[in-house]
């Protein structure tokens, strides 16, 4: 998010050598990604695998980074440089449900501010924060390709479009 201090990622992660463990099924899934690229271009699989690590571990944690460095023959800092570039990769933990409200032009003029205000006051957080029970994180994100059905938000990978405050209430209450 705008305004986040850039150094915060690097300074507070406790650096360990622990390597994440994945089940054989997940490893097989990782290998199916690797198989898409020429064998000497393993690094190509880095972003898909980062997404996978995030899916499995909730965020890009230290053991996950160590795993990928190991799996793809990279330095941990190589993983870091790539991972921190991409806004979908969370370098710190997020809530169980990551609510990402689109804040770009079409959504904004179609009512995003009300939606954001509604969600934040309902959950008692500011954008960028996680609820105390760890259930929700609310983020404002840039255009998600849903301008025709604005305003919208994405929770996890699910698109919720043509939002109204009532619809938001329904969606939130349906989430476990």
């Amino acid at each position: 998010m705008a305004g986040a201090t850039a150094t915060s990622y690097t300074d507070q992660i406790v650096y360990t050598d622990e390597i994440a463990d994945f089940s054989p099924e997940i490893i097989a899934e990782m290998e199916s990604h690797l198989a898409k690229y020429p064998p000497e271009r393993k690094r190509s699989a880095l972003i898909p695998l980062l997404m996978l690590v995030q899916r499995e571990r909730g965020w890009i944690d230290n053991p996950g980074v160590n795993f990928l460095a190991h799996f793809l023959d990279l330095e941990v800092t190589d993983v870091w440089e790539t991972a921190t570039f991409y806004s979908m990769l969370n370098m710190r933990p997020v809530g169980r449900h990551h609510i990402q409200i689109c804040k770009t032009l079409s959504c904004r003029i179609m009512g995003e501010p009300e939606i954001t205000e509604h969600i934040c006051s309902k959950l008692g957080v500011h954008p960028g924060e996680t609820t105390e029970d760890g259930k929700f994180t609310v983020s404002l994100v840039e255009c998600l390709g849903s301008c025709g059905t604005a305003p919208m938000m994405q929770i996890g990978f699910d698109y919720h479009e043509d939002l109204t405050t009532e619809k938001v209430d329904q969606i939130l209450s349906s989430l476990g």
Partner: protein, 433 residues
């Protein structure tokens, strides 16, 4: 939301309303993969020739003639060649590729296979923005179907030609829509653009010849092969062939994805009639950004009664650009300082940080906008912003810098009062946010 063709037979949108239009079965029932069969009997040179004749211009925003781009791929380079589909669709206001992939993924796949045949490539990648996870799942299924049916894999339809196509996910970065940044990202690096020349057609993915085209560009290819380049071109104008998808959003009654023939007349009719007119009947049209956020904003006076034709040339003449055809319509409740700030924040967030003017310029501009919209505007700010834009425009490493400058330059030009109001009164003219 509407999805329909106006002024032409649905071509790109031929299958979007069919039940199970995304399946191989329905695709084949409606003529799918016939173009591939035809293409495999043509020589690569002939295919490129047809595409040249069609006057197809890339649909990713830059509008570069596709046939010409394909002809840049060196024939004698011994390295493998790659075909990459740019499905990163992150331009604010643009959401057309999404529906093509969701409802007719085989069109894009067929287009990619034909391109690969024409260019002598055996591997293709579909680089899709990470947020479109559900589309990647749809495409993975479609690719598996095509593989199963022998359209992909070894010895496609007995032709001796091998091709496989894989999906690849992005992870949230607008700049990865820029073709060279896309390739950096596809190689597992930070999404920084690369120097051109060498152009990707000569040295792209893994330093090998690579063609990058937009989804809609690829979906046009089977149609061109099917009906012939000439015929396809004649659907549009001399210089911009065929039909084009427009994404329309904002203050209209029927936002959506519309297929229009190139050269559609006119923009006012499109907004005011085809899309149902203004969302709120009592509010007048104030501004339109016609081609996705990276083009000049237009005021109502540039559109109403001006017979603006919807093609590359028409929009340039009217003072903007076609871009990706992501049209954002704003009524008079909108404050252009606010919308421009919003877009500048977008560019600041998406600036990759590689080059000085874009990285520092967008940061600085956002700070000025923030100060203005919190009541601290100064008279000299407008001049300063224009000067900063001038210092970014044409000097940045890639076009994102220009794209960040243009909305501001045009907003100040077309809506000077909105800026003056903020600076003089510390508030918006119309009380809008």
């Amino acid at each position: 939301m509407e999805i329909k063709a106006i002024g032409c037979e649905p071509l790109q949108l031929k299958r979007v309303h069919l039940e199970n239009g995304h399946t191989l079965k329905v695709y084949q029932q409606t003529g799918g993969y016939e173009s591939l069969k035809k293409a495999l009997k043509m020589s690569p040179a002939d295919i490129i020739e047809e595409v040249k004749k069609s006057a197809l211009r890339g649909r990713g925003g830059a509008g570069f003639p596709t046939g010409m781009k394909w002809s840049f791929v060196p024939k004698d380079n011994p390295k493998p060649k790659y075909v990459v589909c740019n499905a990163d669709e992150s331009e604010p206001g643009s959401f057309k590729d999404r529906y093509l992939m969701e409802r007719d993924p085989h069109s894009m796949i067929e287009g990619m296979i034909i391109a690969a045949w024409a260019l002598g490539s055996n591997t293709g990648y579909v680089y899709t923005r990470g947020e479109y996870k559900y589309l990647i799942d749809i495409m993975d299924v479609a690719l598996a179907e095509a593989r199963e049916a022998g359209f992909l894999g070894r010895n496609v339809l007995g032709s001796g030609f091998d091709i496989d196509i894989h999906t690849h996910t992005g992870a949230g970065a607008y700049i990865c829509g820029e073709e060279t940044a896309l390739l950096s990202s596809l190689e597992g690096f930070r999404g920084h653009p690369r120097m051109k020349p060498p152009f990707p057609a000569v040295e792209g993915l893994y330093a090998s010849p690579t063609i990058v085209n937009n989804v809609e560009t690829f979906t046009s290819v089977p149609q061109i092969i099917e009906m012939g380049g000439e015929t396809w071109r004649s659907l549009g104008t001399e210089k911009s062939g065929g039909t084009k998808l427009w994404s329309i959003s904002g203050h209209v009654k029927r936002p959506g994805v519309y297929e229009l023939p190139m050269g559609y007349a006119d923009m006012e009719k499109f907004i005011m009639e085809d899309c149902g007119g203004m969302l709120r009947d009592d509010k007048k049209l104030k501004a339109v950004i016609p081609g996705g956020s990276s083009v000049y904003i237009m005021n109502a006076g540039q559109i109403l009664g001006k017979n603006v034709t919807l093609d590359y040339e028409g929009l340039v003449e009217a003072g903007s650009m076609l871009g990706t055809g992501g049209m954002m319509v704003m009524d008079e409740t909108v404050d252009v300082v606010d919308t421009t700030k919003n877009l500048t924040e977008f560019y600041k967030h998406e600036s990759c940080g590689w080059c000085t003017p874009c990285r520092e310029g967008t940061d600085w501009l956002v700070k000025i906008f923030t100060r203005i919209t919190s009541g601290g505007g100064r008279e000299e700010d407008i001049q300063l912003m224009l000067d900063l834009c001038d210092n970014i425009e044409g000097k940045s490493f890639c076009p994102l810098g220009d794209a960040a400058a243009w909305p501001i330059q045009s907003a100040i030009r077309q809506f000077p009062d909105d800026f003056k109001n903020w600076i003089a009164n510390g508030a918006s003219s119309n009380g809008a946010h």
